[in-house]
Symmetry: C2
Subunit: 407 residues, 2 copies
Amino acid sequence: MSLIVQKFGGSSVANPERIKKVAERIIEYKDAGHQVITVVSAMGDSTDDLIELANQLNARPSAREMDMLLSTGEQVSISLLAMAIQAKGYPVISLTGPQAGIRTNSSHGKAKILNVQTDRLEQELANGKIIIVAGFQGISDKNEITTLGRGGSDTTAVALAAALNANVCEIYTDVDGVYTSDPRIVPKAAKLSVISYDEMLELASLGAAVLQPRAVEFAKLNNVKLHVRSSFNHNEGTIVREVEDMEKDMVVSGVACDHNVTKIALFDVPDKPGIAYQLFDALAQENINVDMIIQSHERENRNDFSFTVGRDDKARAVEIANQVADAIGARGVAYDDTVAKVSIVGAGMKTNPGVAAKMFEVLYRLNINIQMISTSEIKVSCVVDDESADRAVVALHTAFGLDQLEQ
Amino acid sequence: MSLIVQKFGGSSVANPERIKKVAERIIEYKDAGHQVITVVSAMGDSTDDLIELANQLNARPSAREMDMLLSTGEQVSISLLAMAIQAKGYPVISLTGPQAGIRTNSSHGKAKILNVQTDRLEQELANGKIIIVAGFQGISDKNEITTLGRGGSDTTAVALAAALNANVCEIYTDVDGVYTSDPRIVPKAAKLSVISYDEMLELASLGAAVLQPRAVEFAKLNNVKLHVRSSFNHNEGTIVREVEDMEKDMVVSGVACDHNVTKIALFDVPDKPGIAYQLFDALAQENINVDMIIQSHERENRNDFSFTVGRDDKARAVEIANQVADAIGARGVAYDDTVAKVSIVGAGMKTNPGVAAKMFEVLYRLNINIQMISTSEIKVSCVVDDESADRAVVALHTAFGLDQLEQ
């Protein structure tokens, strides 16, 4: 008997009809003799509706009260899904994050999972129950309800799969798997059958929205096999796992584009120790994730700093940048959110020199100006004008031989 | 410094505007130097909306999953109310029933409060916080979320007031207090300034919907002073407390009418020991509250049994009555939900004979047939034809001198 952990997102449980479909899918596994734990998100847009209600009462509610509010969304979907399964005559129990033993730190709104206390889960599995767990939430050691932040339901599923040593963690989405690029932008994009954690991690960070990066990281750390697949059909999706025998001829396995980018720059920053620390510590204190960081060459004892953050964090990041600029005597702050980040990802890159140069060439031939560059072992990213980004993605997909990939 | 526990119902927090009004009212008390704990229900019709969603998935969902679902309603309102208070710059924290230490038994959907663990509440009060508590819910010793059933928020408020020895427990409603009768039926109905627990208990049980009977019972048991008042103005409402010096000239203090009545009868029940036990135990097992019970005089070793239940419980009660009738060899079961219960209530009744007779006379002169009678020390109730009930209430209000009561 194998244990399967599954995760269904908000659109899969957006209304009673869809909830019934998910119930049927879960029952298929149960009938096939598996143990099943299913993690669900809040129904459709219900989280956004709650956020809008909150904003009518308080422009900046405390993160603790937001967690109290938002955690209700998943609690509604787990109970409804459990009822749908009960209606089919199967034994089932829904558990909130706290009840499922998801212990987190106290960082409300962006809590990290510390561990999973599996007693209750094991007991319910031993009782033959299908278990439905509320994604996105946990409990701190102060007995407070916490939420895990964006994509938290994926992370919940992976954490449960890791803690219970599940055979696979299935992530259901509205696409068939992980593609070489976004099919809406690149018509020739093809589904990958296997991808490594590292590649997935880079793709996920870059806006290929099928899987949240922290969930992939968590899966890599705990060696949890992920299966990204469609909730609309039974096709095999994409397996995400440690890949030892990566095909050598596939240098680049994906081209991604992230439009959720704001570029912020500080001009004429005095060149002395501790400046970078001061700026980025202030941003970290506010839980703002900084993506790319560039410090330009020093000139007349003055530097320029540029960095990127998500557009959600723009207002707060600019505010902090201004405060720090005043404090350290920089000349000014500028920001630009009409930019996007285009990236190529591939584990084969490590052993194939010249990949970055080829990317820059493609952009040059398209007459697209590169504003920032950042690289990792298996990724090259360029910040470019937002409007040019899609053109760049299509051209890169062709240039790196991904158009020929068998569908 | 006094401690005030307040309870606001669902209509008081039905939308952001009303939530702001409640926040202002709470802040008035805080500014006046009081400690405040406020219990709230789910927003407006949100509980009904959740029930409807559930019914689309399962005609008879388990009570455990319904509790999981419905408890989200109060969690939404406490967090929103806390945010509204935060917006005004006051220290506040919302607590779910479990977090507020409301420990209950495991009777899902109709849980009883066993005790209140006050550590967290005391700690937050000591920190100077306004506390907002989710009504209607608690936690069982199995770490399960429970709900207290109908009117549970009143009970939560009284339990908190009792556990923390509050100076008063204010119950905010959409009326000015407790009236001698329903002003919609009896235009001359007047507000009472004081009423005893026992009278309130009888009135509450009888459909004067301002206060739930179990909350009044809880208050009486723990000697918690209740103040029933309007959320729309600052008028003094009605104090509910132990009344020693009841005015002797006020024999009857209220006339009530309950339309939520179904009469069920078993015919030709064999006259042997254990029959009543068998029937009413079966109903109790299903958590059905039976109100009046009448056993007619034995005739040819056969009895008739009649009893009343709320209309919500009609279907299940009739089903059980049929099963028991088969099992014990009764001739048949009949039910009628076109009936209502009209009652007069007054602590002065104990020392004034002839009150019941006077009531029967009033009904007789109106040519209203009495179908069932039940009496307590301070109450006489008659089941009559539903359509005649309002006429009866108006006439009784006049006959017992309540029309003359100063408003």
